[in-house]
Symmetry: D2
Subunit: 400 residues, 4 copies
């Protein structure tokens, strides 16, 4: 087993999540140097995580002679420059979500890493939660039949850091912050080879005095006919709402990643202490999760990334995935402005084609069976359609 020495670019909220995961759970891979724009923050981060060096020189951090992997955990507007510098240095890159502020940026980053031939992983943690991985495996094994609809919802009262609120730096509002997660969750369930064709999106700014959206709902139509639905909000009250629902012709999956996971606690208060990411209160009924970095997917994500690097394969989440997500978000923003379905523009589709959801209807005595129900007495009730007249009728038959 190889071990890796890591350059960490960025020392904010997500940097802490990454460092927790890397140092606690894969203790053989260590952060060797941290880059921060602010010297004090960099030094504090290095002390917090036992990192030998901190620097305010990004280029030096990237080219540090002992590191072979660079994690980009910077605000969105700094991704492109950082990714290009790492690609030029010929090191493996792991870049946080969203890949770019828009598809053009993402496409240029994709081109940079592919031209340089370096490993490039897209750090989309919520596509890696243990529940999501197992649910996706069930879907791929056919437990739900063909997927017809996926709802992915992420909502909380708004981000912690100032830069998240500045659309000039991020590329947008709640869609850019949260929608990128939802889109990749949806793609995982409908199949990544299932091309996103068009998007219908509504955005609004209802609560916060900002220019970008603090609420959005969108529908994504895939080639198979499946619909992805994402709901994102920076105005949700009650904590962080992270839920997914998947409907298929043969089954249903409901995932709740955060507020209802089998851990319920009432406290009259007094103890203080950290409850969970985006928790709103420290008294009354609280709903912590067990191990946040596990439940949010960070552990399985980094496992996949390092195993992919070591194994010479691509990661489950690649820069191409990040690019597709940006393209879908671009379409969402265009749709929100036009009020109509808007095509997803991809300069290149690598996923092949996916047939339309289809089934051959059963025929009973020359009529099409619309529905079959089992009655309490074991007999079957059929709803039938006469193909000639278009008329519908009921029919109760034996059990075959």
């Amino acid at each position: 087993m190889r071990t890796h020495a890591i350059t960490m670019l960025g020392t904010g909220f997500i940097g802490d999540f990454y460092a927790t995961t890397l140092h606690r759970l894969r203790s053989h891979d260590r952060i060797r140097v941290a880059y921060a724009r602010n010297e004090d923050r960099g030094r504090a981060f290095a002390e917090r995580w036992g990192i030998p060096e901190a620097t305010t020189d990004m280029e030096a951090a990237i080219r540090h002679p002992e590191t072979d992997v660079v994690v980009v955990a910077l605000p969105n507007h700094l991704h492109e420059a950082a990714v290009k510098a790492v690609a030029a240095a010929g090191k493996a890159i792991l870049c946080t979500k969203p890949l770019g502020r828009n598809a053009d940026e993402a496409r240029r980053m994709l081109a940079a890493v592919e031209e340089a031939g370096v490993f490039a992983g897209y750090l989309e943690d919520l596509a890696y939660t243990p529940k999501t991985l197992k649910a996706v495996a069930s879907v791929q094994a056919g437990s739900l039949g063909e997927i017809t609809w996926v709802r992915s919802r992420e909502a909380h009262p708004g981000p912690h850091s100032a830069w998240f609120w500045d659309g000039r730096l991020t590329g947008g509002g709640a869609i850019i912050d949260l929608g990128c997660h939802c889109i990749e969750i949806i793609r995982s369930f409908v199949g990544k080879g299932n091309r996103p064709i068009e998007v219908m999106c509504h955005t609004d700014t209802l609560v916060h005095p900002i220019d970008d959206e603090d609420n959005a709902v969108a529908l994504i139509r895939f080639e198979s006919g499946a619909i992805g639905q994402f709901e994102v909000s920076w105005t949700f009250r009650g904590g962080m709402d992270l839920r997914d629902e998947v409907a298929g012709t043969e089954g249903t999956i409901w995932l709740n990643h955060f507020l209802r996971t089998g851990f319920e606690m009432f406290t009259a208060g007094g103890s203080g202490g950290y409850v969970a990411e985006k928790a709103e209160t420290a008294a009354g009924w609280l709903f912590p999760v067990g191990d946040e970095v596990v439940e949010l997917g960070y552990v399985d994500m980094f496992d996949d990334m390092f195993e992919a690097i070591d194994g010479g394969r691509v990661a489950r989440e690649t820069f191409y995935d990040g690019y597709v997500v940006n393209a879908v978000m671009d379409a969402a923003y265009r749709s929100a402005r036009s009020g109509a379905w808007t095509p997803v523009e991809l300069h290149e589709w690598r996923g092949g084609t996916t047939p339309r959801i289809a089934s051959t209807p059963e025929v009973h005595e020359g009529k099409v069976v619309i529905k079959r129900e089992v009655l309490p007495d074991g007999r079957h009730k059929l709803v039938l359609k006469d193909p000639a007249t278009g008329d519908f009728s009921d029919r109760v038959v034996g059990d075959a």
Copy 2:
């Protein structure tokens, strides 16, 4: 207290639900005569519920000398004629949902009852579930602040009766069958005086070999800026999914009416028996509800109707409400065809105006407060926006 003798028009699935409720729970009001198109079904219904008379003559049933209230529990395409006949007879009318196959039909029914001056109640049971009534009261009391978003979802594997599948008789597919419930639930939460402005809707026929939609998702934009979102499906697997979610600036409500209500049962099978409306299996993990007619709102609905008749007031759900619901559904169908936001056309709006959701942002040292978080140590972290430059910054302050 007055008692009422009832004419029941229709003896199908919904007729049984109504008779259960009327006879068991308001035993002083009895069905006096039942009308069925089919003589055998009428007779069986009368025997099942201890009703003195059954007839295949609708006009005679309506004009029965002893009845003062007529319940219309017929397929959609028969509502208009029935309602007009009852109005002509001068009796109180209670009509099942949806009111019409489209807004034109509904508008004519509304005109008929208003011209005749008879009591006219709209039997929208799901606006009357005990949970909905209490949740709406909490919202009206301000517990959630201003409502920003309501999701109402109804999904099951498809209706039991043949006529439901025939769009010529019903006016459509899953939207006409289920969406009418969702729309009125949404209106109850955003406020019935909050005008529905426009609708964006996607429909598709994914599973059943029919011409009408078996799946639909729609957004309704209200005058206040609130968004209503309905999701309906005739292809859901796992039972009947009846859930509502309400988000406001100060709170959140989640309602689950059917599959997760605190009643969980595993059985290795063998006993058979009715589990619940639209249940798919009789073994494994099952999720019955306690008292279905209570939980689905039938009891509170009929209580309101008869108290309204006796008290000389309008019911909570009126024919005008039914008309608005039809108008929203018409807009949904038009939007599904055009792929764009589509206005809700109402010949008359009785609800007044509703101001845009608004709040006056807090200002801190000349900057706009975007967000305020309480830190574990009791201090507050502010995210601030400089109105001059548009730049965002963090600031930690004491607890005031």
Copy 3:
């Protein structure tokens, strides 16, 4: 249908619940006269519920010439005298729970009503919740096989009224207040003909400065071998915890009557208002129930009582049931003192005999099958016991 005029004895917390139910939901039966020990409280109660008369003369209230049913909603120490007076007056009696402060009192009340030949119903509401009624019906239909274990739990932060805390007036502490509910729920599931043989109970006073128990756990062994387990507490934090669990040889039932019923609400606060019985907070995550008098069983309880009176049959819950419950509680208190299993002393058992839970073990090639599991490949894995040696072994066989 007959209507009834009611004498209400007692105007406290439970009196309000009863009046809500009687007047709102069975509006043809009205309270005609209310008796209160305190004149002001009686008058206020009468005004609140539109009752024509209030009095401080219990005998006059009982013998009121227009009433035919008397509801005893008084503190426990007043039940016996009240019941005897009503029996002497020859009217139907409905007495709140627990029937007596101990089995001797209950036995005398039982004798009084049986000698007088009057209708006597035991107002044990939690045996009548819609969920309990449906769950009991499933159990009786065999869905769970033979019942092996029932857990019934009622816990909250302590009663509202002062007299509840005075063991001299009530007969005990949390067991007398809450355990009586649990015992009757347990009996409903294991079968009322299943004789309670002995009890093992632990009590303690952990939080409140009182002499009686504020916490207790007990096991009840029934003739069939089934175990009933009740847990009661006056020190629970978080609201009112009302849950039942039933295990059988073929299935499982979990009921949650109060804190998790599919109604979840977060509010940042401000609106105030009543949330639910024994709710502890008015902000944060709250868990209201839909219609409290329905969910707590009051509606179905009074329906059964009046239908039983009208139909000349006994109620589902009788004074004999109340007496058995008191006898089980007496045994629990004795066991708590002795620290050992203690017999339930009943002067008369009306339930017949119940055979021991039993099954005939399957035999495979001369060995006893202890367990049969289905493997993913469809084959069966058997755990076998050799009756001669007592040795255990595994065996994988085909699917029959």
Copy 4:
């Protein structure tokens, strides 16, 4: 960071769980040699997990020159001999639960490792689930005040392997198999320094044709007055029921580790595949967990063990803990035979003393405050007790 080479004794069900965890999640520590009593099983296990060597010679496996840690994953009756052999070899020992078949065995194992001076960890995984660790931390931080009651429940349809059913090899039935988990969970919440004083236990054999108990419920009284309650069953239907409940003077915790963790799935069937440990069905509503080895505590358990070895500290779960658990189970079996509370016999108590749960009651105008409630209008209602007369009264006061 040191790496470890491991000798694995035992290749059954639990051996697979351990190997999954060790190889997948702590890939720097590898199993070097596996010992199995059966040569074929040992070879298959080695192939399954990429282990260089398998042997049927336990002594050789223990003394393998390259290994420094030995994991004992053998049936209970083989623990003592294995532990003594490892202690003699001077290697670190990690022994699965329960430590012994009874306290005498456990005590001898404890003596052996302490005399040899080797590291000895007790592999009690359920004390290490992420939820349990976080919940225990909350309790230790005071969020729940003083702990009054802990319920720990483990129930499923019975173990997979034949030897589990043979009380001669295991030491008992469901208590030995499952109760050991519950007891250590309970101790974690009431405090490991809180001495278990006595036990009251009921056991029965209701379903399986075996001599040992397939159902048991027990109460454990701790020195503080806290009550631990464990419920174990080999006859539960519906999967594996793993739940804990903790009550304190200031709060409540409910944990659900398996059947309701935010992952719900309905499938019409067909796909087959492994759902979860002890799942009963592969169709209908299913409740998988995300990552079973994480959720069941294996990952955090082994992390603690190896960090303890590397850090020269004791593990969170030690052989002394295993010994205490055996002593509590011994008392439970004695109590089940005597039908009375039975002392827990410990030859040595290392936990110090714990004071009785206590609070100083508030006094209001010379009376003891039994309860304080906040009314909707902000005033407080007090229930008061007159210390002189023992009488109780109500009093409504302002908000202080």
